[in-house]
């Protein structure tokens, strides 16, 4: 199956996926959750990610 990463439009290929599974975009490293849209097709949503923030 072929997906587009919502963050960077990168192509993501996955043999078969199950709902709730986390995929990682090869181009930008975004953590993407496999979800189902209204018509029941698989789609990817960005899972919340905590950026590195240090330094005062």
């Amino acid at each position: 199956m072929k997906f587009k990463c919502p963050e960077c439009d990168g192509d993501i290929e996955a043999k078969e996926v199950i709902e709730g599974e986390i995929l990682s975009c090869p181009d930008c490293g975004a953590e993407l959750e496999v979800a189902k849209d209204k018509k029941g097709n698989f789609e990817l949503k960005v899972a919340e990610s905590e950026g590195e923030d240090w330094g005062e």
Binding site: G51, E52, D53, W54, G55, E56
Partner: protein, 350 residues
């Protein structure tokens, strides 16, 4: 002699407060708190203080601190300072807070810190602790909000450019280089020596929290809004910040005109030095030349090719960027010579 307390004394900033206050003629350190190290002599965590003091860490008990100390330096993580300051202020203690909890206005906190201020009324009490800009207000202040380290170097170095009235105020670039001690004592892969040695790592390249206080302090000089484009980088230094400012000129300015502005602003400041030499190795500010001191070196260069004014600001992030400036504020608050106890020259080379 004034009784002082340090709440959160086990970090690098706490260690510098101890180191500088131990020899301060007007300060008697009554209390240095550390939850983890209570009962231990401070030199167990700060070995440079062995034989300098036998003071021991104690549990952070605000009631005890309030009863024994006239002045308290709060060196707690953001968010934990606010309640502690409130308690101490209620007991009549004068507080110097090294966190960001009181630096900004109420409406800035949600945007820049994702945090609703729990005691907004205290913000009216707070004075932004940059002596070069707020000396008079600091004198009588009950609550001083010590500036951030990147903010200190950026504000002091960019201010003269803003003062010229000849730079575009909506796009002041500040490209900062920061030493590892800026991240404090918390250990992470990012601070792991093999990962930190010889690196240039941009972090929080946009919307860094210090942007808010830099803009807040420069706006009055500009007579309006200033937009700062700040991008910090971790580089291979333990101490030190270099803030390189790139501002775009709206008219021709001469070196002489700029020197005049720098002199007017800083000639009589005890801790700001104008560094723009035409010869030698140290022509412009370099953190290496201020580390160990409370000095902020500022410099500039005009780039005719792009009508740009380049500004430089170098400090020791733990001293002028934290502990030293806190004590400079303390000196002002008790009405003594501002240089007392923090007038040491930098330690070179390190």
């Amino acid at each position: 002699m004034r009784t002082v307390g340090i709440v959160g004394a086990s970090g690098y900033t706490g260690g510098e407060l101890l180191r500088l206050l131990v020899d301060h003629p007007e300060a008697e350190i009554k209390i240095a708190t550390s939850r983890e190290n209570a009962g231990e002599p401070v030199f167990r965590v700060h070995p440079q203080l062995r034989k300098k003091t036998d003071l021991k860490f104690v549990e952070p008990d605000l009631e005890k601190v309030a009863s024994e100390c006239e002045f308290v330096f709060l060196a707690l993580p953001h968010g934990s300072s606010a309640p502690a300051a409130k308690r101490l202020l209620e007991a009549g203690v004068r507080v110097i807070d090294l966190s960001a909890d009181f630096r900004l206005k109420k409406e800035d906190y949600p945007k820049w810190y994702g945090w609703e201020h729990p005691f907004p009324d205290l913000l009216d009490l707070a004075v932004y602790g940059l002596p070069e800009f707020h000396r008079e207000e600091i004198k009588g202040a009950k609550l001083v909000a010590n500036p951030g380290c990147i903010a200190t170097a950026s504000i002091l170095s960019v201010a003269p450019a803003i003062k010229t009235g000849a730079v575009e105020k909506n796009r002041v670039v500040v490209d900062a280089k920061i030493g590892s001690s800026g991240a404090g004592t918390s250990v992470s892969i990012a601070s792991h020596h093999p990962e930190h040695s010889g690196l240039v790592r941009a972090y929080k390249p946009s919307m860094h929290r210090h942007t808010a206080e830099i803009e807040q302090e420069l706006a009055p000089l500009a007579g309006g809004e200033v937009k700062v484009a700040l991008t910090p980088h971790a580089v291979d230094m333990v101490r030190g910040i270099m803030a390189t400012g790139h501002s775009f000129l709206t008219r021709q300015v001469t070196n002489q005109e700029l020197w005049k502005i720098y002199r007017e602003m800083y000639q009589n400041e005890p801790f700001v030095r104008i560094v723009k030499d035409l010869r030698g190795l140290h022509m412009l500010p370099d953190p290496k030349n201020v580390v160990g001191s409370n000095f902020c070196d500022v410099g500039f260069e005009i780039d005719p090719h792009t009508n740009r004014m380049i500004t430089f600001g170098a400090i020791d992030n733990l001293i002028k960027g934290a502990a030293g400036q806190a004590i400079q504020n303390f000196n002002i608050m008790i009405g003594i010579d501002e240089r007392t106890g923090i007038d040491q020259a930098g330690v070179r080379p390190i």
